[in-house]
Subunit: 489 residues, 2 copies
């Protein structure tokens, strides 16, 4: 096949009998899906190659076949494996029916691209297929002009629902909830409720897991899992089946919501307005995403890096990492600059220059350990004001014991390595004492810093590691040099 035929447009290709083109035989969508996904449900590199190959040949028919066989989540995944040029070719071929779902699965920077390339009316139709929370998320990403156009092209009800959702703050229950749910008055029976569901049709979400039982003012008074509804006799009153319900205030932070879902193993929960009125529901699938995202944020924050996104350019990645490194450069320089005062000691005993960085490095590592444990314990509410005092005391004790053990080993090693002499005996004492000081300081900073940040309502993962690193760098150098200047003169 020559480059010329490859650039024929799709219609022409459609009219060429397949047998004349030496392409791989057409597979059924099921066969293609099997080809696409490895045993681990990640996209096969070979499949990505097939897509790239079809795009290179300009074979729109094959491309549509390959992309069409995938679940929306896999299409979104595929987009992340393609470069921008290839994506541009794929975007117009996306199934309009699945477009909404694909968009809501895409990563931020790729999503932007797709949103730009899609006409407002197509977008409006695609978003109408989504639950309010997902549609609002997408709308929120549009620039003002396009947002206006898309909202204008949507139906009245959907537009109103999305606008209400967007009126809640980002990362709160209000943004996570969908406004469609199943509610029933206390005095209804199982049979009445099931009949209502059969008749209600489109006003109900496609998927729901609980019936919320409400009082006449529309406050939730209980909930019934629909599997319980299904197994109960039609004449049973709902009041007999309902269980206590955990209500989520509409302004609650999503991390809190995730904590509650996790703790009480909830599948869905009703969301209430300040007055107590039921206004929406949150389902566990949105929570799975929150839990994953929050954990990823913590991992990255502790390492001093923000997520530039899978498809970020080198410049975007540099921007997400360089500020932290520059800050680190400043604090390391600050920590070390004091060393200049002790130039005489170092020139006299070069071994100090060798031992200082070891003491600093160990302090940094001990601090990171304490920090990681503290951040995790705060996130899971295992560390709260109720036990903070006990945990802090325990961490400090751990710091002392670790410091002591390391000091013994390092002191002995120093003594053996440099051999016995009056100065070298002192070297062993210097390094030992400095290690104990620094590991203890690491414990102190590693536990108190995240606690303080949490108390101030800040994210304990975000700025604590730069502080603890600075603290242990500084203490490491100064402990060695101060103790040395005391002992050696």
């Amino acid at each position: 096949m020559t480059r010329d035929t490859a650039e024929l447009n799709e219609d022409v290709l459609d009219n060429i009998p397949l047998a004349h083109i030496p392409l791989p035989k057409s597979e059924t969508p099921e066969e293609l899906e099997d080809l696409a996904l490895g045993d681990d449900y990640a996209l096969n590199p070979e499949y990505v190659e097939m897509v790239i190959d079809a795009a290179d040949r300009g074979d729109a028919k094959r491309l549509r076949e390959l992309v069409g066989a995938l679940d929306p989540a896999d299409v979104a995944d595929l987009m992340g494996f393609l470069t921008a040029d290839y994506r541009e070719e794929v975007i117009p071929l996306l199934d309009p029916e699945a477009l909404g779902e694909i968009i809501s699965e895409l990563e931020d920077n790729i999503r932007e691209e797709v949103l730009e390339a899609t006409p407002s009316v197509t977008l409006a139709r695609a978003l109408e297929e989504l639950d309010t929370d997902d549609a609002a998320d997408v709308i929120d990403d549009l620039d003002d002009t396009k947002r206006f156009q898309v909202l204008a092209a949507m139906g009245e009800t959907d537009r109103a629902a999305i606008e209400t959702t967007l009126s809640y703050e980002d990362e709160t229950a209000g943004r996570l909830m969908q406004r469609e749910f199943l509610a029933a008055p206390e005095f209804w029976t199982v049979g009445q409720t099931i009949d209502h569901v059969r008749e209600a049709g489109d006003s109900l979400p496609e998927l729901f897991f609980d019936v919320y039982v409400v009082d006449p003012t529309f406050k939730p008074v209980g909930a019934i899992p629909i599997s319980i509804l299904l197994r109960s006799r039609r004449q049973t009153p709902l009041a007999e089946l309902m269980e206590a319900v955990t209500e989520i205030p509409v302004e609650m932070d999503q991390e809190e919501v995730a904590y509650i879902f996790d703790k009480y193993h909830l599948i869905s929960a009703p969301v209430i307005e300040p007055g107590g009125r039921l206004v929406g529901q949150i389902t566990v699938d949105d929570i799975v995403e929150v839990i994953r995202d929050e954990a990823e944020e913590d991992i990255l924050a502790l390492a001093g890096v923000s997520d530039a996104g899978r498809d970020a350019s080198v410049i975007e990645i540099v921007k997400s990492r360089l500020p932290w490194l520059m800050l680190n450069l400043a604090t390391a320089t600050l920590a070390v600059s004091g060393v200049a005062i002790f130039q005489a000691e170092i020139a006299q005993l070069v071994a100090l220059a060798i031992l200082m960085p070891i003491v600093s490095s160990l302090g940094g590592n001990a601090g990171t350990q304490t920090l990681a444990v503290a951040v995790r314990a705060l996130a899971s509410k295992e560390l709260t004001p109720a036990n903070a005092r006990r945990i802090v005391a325990r961490e400090l004790l751990v710091g002392l014991v670790n410091g002591l053990c390391l000091a013994l080993v390092m002191g002995a090693a120093t003594y053996m390595f440099f051999g016995p002499s009056d100065q070298h005996d002192k070297l062993a004492i210097i390094v030992g004492a400095a290690l104990i000081t620094n590991i203890f300081t690491a414990a102190l900073g590693g536990i108190l810093m995240p606690l303080a940040l949490e108390k101030m309502g800040r994210d304990p993962a975000v700025s604590s590691s730069i502080f603890v690193t600075f603290l242990t760098d500084f203490t490491g150098f100064f402990a060695v040099l101060l103790i040395a200047s005391l002992l050696l003169h």
Copy 2:
């Protein structure tokens, strides 16, 4: 109230008219629950104090009241806030009905305590109330004698189910699944299925979210969310409603299962034996736990610390941290020991001793950044063989750019700080060149090490950070000293 009356036993206390005891007024369970939980659904420190206070007074009635008002998850939480002595007092008062659930919510080391303190027969009854996966988890924690006793005291069916579950490997789908589920043949109608559910009673789990449609060999051919079942006409055949189903092989690793649930937003999924036969189901609430646990593992592994548990003793915590620090001591010493060769250079130009640790520390931080991003991308399958080459190239480029920027700033600062002189001009060049080398090395190690570990089937978070730290420590020192010895002589 004197200490004497406080130590009266519960029966006596019960017979003293409440008005005579200056205790806080008896609250309803609802009032107590409001007292217990803060707005953030964590236990109030005041409530923990009330429990400790009641235990100090030996007031079993009050203790039972306080503990009884809590949800099993909150009782488990409470236990974590008490010391072992107080727990011993609370354990015998736990509601036998809720005992199973409380035990399955407890942390490992506290769970051990409770299991030891509970008679085998009580335990057997409590476990029969749980889903197979949760009961098997508890049984797995018992020592051999007690396991035998508890299993012997259980009903035949429950015992068999638990033994089958335990025959699967830890952290696989087989261990996560429950053996109770709702399956129906293709030719049934909605009505037939609902009638079956009403009649089946206890053989079905209390909660289920999907009907699995099976062929005559009991292989799943589709699934129907029960909300769809509920809204469909009774005479609709299941075959008309069912959608494609994602089957989970019984031996699949739980991290893979979590990935699939997260990716396809599943609420439940059928688990199949190697032949394809349906043997159980996994529900999303178990997956929430897996996702949280795996993310926590990664955070801790990157920091070089294992979770000693919330109630661990100082010695247990030291054991979970000291080995890593000792290893770090060894690698740091190894990295630095070469410095001894360059004693002459350092004595001649002490500024080198000041700059070396900065270069090392920045390398370490840049390496940690790359590592955290790589570990996260591997876990979410954003980094796979399909794009590894591109991502590695991008990371190396980022390393070069970051190194260049840092070198410019640090070189200029060095020049300004030490003032112009032939040797100090060279110092600026030395530190700049060493920084570029080390930041690039950090990028190389930070991306290739986790990729290599993943390829070997190992956890990329576990041992990569010690390696990268060593690499950047070593490179930091040697780059400075080697470049110095070349330029200064």
